[in-house]
């Protein structure tokens, strides 16, 4: 540092070479160790974040690139991202063999029912666990966690048998019944999140509402619930996404009817079946199968991506305020 300052005083005396003088000024401004460290870190951080983002986006970019790609281009060494021969053929096949519009409507209905019911029931239960004291509360709450630990395969067969005997398979009832009673996909997690959120609310709010004459339920929905939006957004988003992509319950509750996820898993097999009957082709190439799968996958997650694009603002905000770990 002393050296630099001496150099600068020398330069101050004879400012003949203005260019070099400026250079030393810049050096002094940026050469402090702390600043250098900060800059180095922010570069490293940028590289890391861009790298990981690329890894995350890679499958999506690949699907988008394949969406209009002709089969020929897959074998073309010069084609990497942007297809040479554009075609809608694969999209048409995927739409047809997934019976897209019909299964799409089915999925929307299922997801709508389950999301609304799960959110309501889990909010009630989470609130009950957070704000009231009753005998056996901690034991009952450990049962909530227990439902998360048990693989759904354990209860799969009896559930299937019971709904079969009741003739409720292929209707919306299995979804409605399980969702309304907090037994849908990972509902224990939602209860846990919501409980953690309500637990951190100050007791004074509740007491103030009670003094003003609000009953237990009135306190719940007009005082406590409005502030719970962040955690509810997270719950709704999770429950939509997990139900949308779920095949386990879709195959368990619906044998003949299909939702998008189950249609997607059967897509290439169905098409191959068709080709076998009409053209006698027994096995098509794994590359083409993968192409069709990718087109189908993009068709399935496209609505979710749109939804996420709209909801991300609330979702990202909710991370800071939901306090799901409380």
């Amino acid at each position: 540092m002393d050296n630099i300052i001496r150099v600068i005083t020398v330069f101050n005396k004879r400012k003949a070479d203005l260019k070099e003088y400026r250079w030393y000024k810049i050096l002094i401004r940026y050469a402090s160790v702390g600043r250098l460290k900060l800059m180095a870190w922010s570069i490293v951080r940028a590289v890391l974040i861009i790298g990981i983002s690329f890894i995350i986006l890679y499958p999506l970019l690949m699907k988008i690139s394949m969406f209009f790609m002709d089969q020929k281009d897959l074998y073309d060494r010069t084609v990497k991202w942007i297809p040479k021969n554009l075609t809608l053929e694969n999209v048409k096949i995927a739409l047809e063999y997934m019976n897209y519009w019909h299964t799409f409507m089915n999925t929307v209905k299922v997801v709508l029912f389950t999301t609304v019911l799960q959110t309501i029931s889990c909010t009630l239960v989470g609130y009950g666990f957070a704000r009231f004291r009753f005998p056996g509360r901690s034991l009952l709450f450990s049962l909530v966690i227990f439902t998360l630990l048990v693989p759904p395969q354990t209860i799969m067969v009896p559930l299937y048998m019971n709904f079969r005997i009741l003739r409720l398979l292929d209707t919306y009832w299995p979804y409605i019944l399980t969702s309304a009673t907090c037994m849908g996909i990972r509902n224990g997690l939602y209860i846990y999140m919501i409980r953690q959120f309500f637990r951190q609310m100050p007791k004074e709010i509740e007491e103030a509402a009670m003094v003003d004459g609000a009953g237990v339920f009135k306190t719940f929905y007009s005082v406590m619930l409005p502030s719970a939006t962040p955690v509810l957004v997270t719950t709704v988003l999770f429950s939509i996404v997990w139900q949308w992509n779920d095949t386990f319950y879709a195959n368990l509750f619906w044998v003949k009817n299909q939702v998008l996820s189950s249609a997607l898993s059967a897509l290439t097999d169905n098409y191959q079946q068709f080709l076998r009957i009409t053209e006698g082709i027994h096995e098509f190439s794994p590359v083409y199968r993968s192409l069709l799968d990718n087109v189908g996958m993009l068709l399935v997650i496209f609505p979710l991506l749109i939804l996420y694009a709209f909801a991300q603002k609330y979702f990202i905000e909710s991370i800071e305020r939901s306090g799901i770990v409380g």
């Binding site: 499958p59 048990v150 997650i301």
Partner: protein
Amino acid sequence: MPKKGLTLQQKRAWSGIIFILPFLIGFVLFFAYPMILSAIFSFSRMTIHTTGYELSRVGIKNYRDAFLVDPTFNRELVESVGNMLMDVPLVIFFSFFSSVLLNQKFRGRTLARVIFFLPVVMSSGIIATMESTDYLRNYVMTLGVINQNVETSTVLGSFRLSHYLLEIGLHPTMVNYITSAVNRINDIVSMSGVQILVFLSALQTIPPSLFEASNIEGATGWENFWKITFPMLSPYILTCVVYTVIDYFMSPKNVVMETIRTTAFVLANFTYSAALAWIYFIVVSILLLIIVRIISKRVFYYE
């Protein structure tokens, strides 16, 4: 429910029970009852009629078959547990690291967060299952560009990486672990969405006063991280490990889950599949217990 003579506390207790009533009903009807039934199934043989089914007791035959007769189940179970033990540390490390990154202030942070949570939307359920087995993706990820079979280095260059690591003098098993982690980075990233969320919101709960105090004492960022951030987050490491283990065992990608499902619905062997599910459940529970024991000893609790 008696109306008269209740104290305020008793009244509140009753309202609490009314609030959790949906769960109680669901737990009994759609959880406890099926679980008991499935336990009974696992000790029986089932004959199916058009109207229902009939059970006959066979003792522990199903369980014995699973371990002694079934050629694949043992192997799949061990494989699944082994993979879990390999993946969970990676997922935790990655999500911890990402959440610390995403918690810092920088330009484009919101965009970065949007992208980092994309796996929650994009890789769950069927999409995750299909992607992990997708021919083209695996091909591109492991061999470089299609039609270039001679290409020896992978997209992420782990071939060269392993070379360097061996040169440094690391043990080959360690090198294998690191390179396989690099090759499966996609799977690891796609498993980490919820964990990043948990860590990120846990970071918000650290009182800023701690950092202020330590900065005044002259601590560096590195020291702050190891002396404040890490211990304060350690309880959530436990939460995330438990979540990851459960998520790993419950995901439809898991071979054992798939076997149990096909045993029931493709081979129509319902009772045997119930026995497999119970074995699986017990194995998972024991593993979880051990893991929780080990970690909770090292966890730091604030206050």
